[in-house]
């Protein structure tokens, strides 16, 4: 057994002879694996789609840019409604000026409620 070739052949034969684990060993290894395996992480479940009008409103809100944008639009709408409904008496002088005889204007009172400030005592 001094030939390198013989020793190489012997080693090659060993390499080609696998050591098969017994069924019992495999079972022990798998039991260990199961015992220490991290639990699967909880999956994020998407919320159920809302039906009908709610879904349409939700899509519309998303299309307009989300909740903040919708809140801004709502505020602007309420402000417009207020201006439309409120008593326009404070603007009467100005409207008279614009709608009235423009050529006869000598004096334009833009702030009629502040006359008192100009009164000398």
């Amino acid at each position: 057994m001094t030939d390198d070739m013989d020793l190489d052949a012997l080693l090659a034969q060993a390499a080609a002879t696998p050591v098969a684990p017994s069924a019992a060993l495999t079972a022990r290894i798998l039991a260990d694996a199961q015992a220490v395996q991290p639990r699967p992480q909880a999956k994020v479940v998407p919320s159920r789609p809302r039906p009908g009008v709610l879904a349409w409103l939700s899509d519309l809100a998303e299309g307009l840019g989300g909740g903040r944008a919708v809140a801004g639009l709502s505020l602007a709408g309420v402000a417009g409604l207020f201006l439309g409904v409120a008593d326009p008496s404070a603007l009467q002088s100005l409207s008279t000026l614009i709608a009235g005889d423009l050529t006869s204007v000598e004096h334009m009172d833009l702030l009629p409620a502040t006359d008192i400030l100009w009164t000398e005592n």
Binding site: D6, L10, A14, V19, A20, L25, I29, L30, D32, A33
Partner: protein
């Protein structure tokens, strides 16, 4: 993930799947890796029961490290061979500390050698090789088994044994020379002379 698909994925991917809770990954990793781990441990320890315990422990360490495994840092098989090498070294140290099995117990060593020779006379080539491997110094045995039986490249063996590549080359060469010396004169018992005769007869 379907079994067919899992068959094609790398060990590292399987370990990630195991860490994520995939139930099939552990079985595939065990099928792939445990024969190599057991074979290596058996050749280092020459004791099947101890080799099985080492295999189970090495695989347990793999399962435990799975969630922290750093991808691309090392091959799983290389890491396992290293774990097995260390476990076997520890086991042999423990054997030496046990009363009655100390290496300096000359009568027992002499008895073991006689037993090895006796086995060599009766057994097949594999048993003879194992008996010869048992007589090598530990590091030489590790290097020879990893290089010539497990078929690893020297750089990978260097990683496993925590040595330089040149040191591995030196260990393997010395180990092979020692093996040849141990087996010298046993050629006929191992059947190699018969093979040579047959080759000549055929030629």
């Amino acid at each position: 993930m379907p079994r067919d698909t899992l068959d094609e994925v790398s060990d590292e991917t399987l370990l990630v799947l195991y860490a994520n809770g995939d139930p099939s990954a552990a079985r595939l990793l065990t099928t792939r890796l445990s024969p190599r781990v057991l074979g290596y441990a058996t050749r280092l320890l020459a004791d099947r029961a101890e080799a099985e315990d080492v295999t189970q422990e090495a695989m347990m360490r793999l399962w435990r490290i799975a969630p922290q495994w750093r991808a691309g840092e090392a091959q799983i098989s290389t890491w396992l061979y290293r774990v097995v090498t260390n476990l076997c070294t520890d086991l042999k140290r423990a054997r030496r500390r046990r009363p009655g099995v100390a290496l300096d117990d000359a009568p027992e060593v002499a008895g073991a050698t006689e037993s090895a020779v006796s086995t060599l006379m009766q057994a097949d080539r594999m048993t003879a090789l194992q008996a010869a491997l048992d007589q090598l110094p530990e590091r030489q045995r590790q290097a020879v088994v990893l290089r010539h039986i497990e078929g690893l490249a020297n750089p990978e063996i260097a990683q496993i044994m925590d040595l330089g590549v040149e040191a591995v080359e030196s260990l393997t060469a010395r180990g092979k020379r020692a093996l040849a010396a141990i087996l010298a004169g046993r050629k006929a018992e191992l059947g190699y002379e018969d093979d040579a005769d047959e080759s000549e007869a055929v030629g």
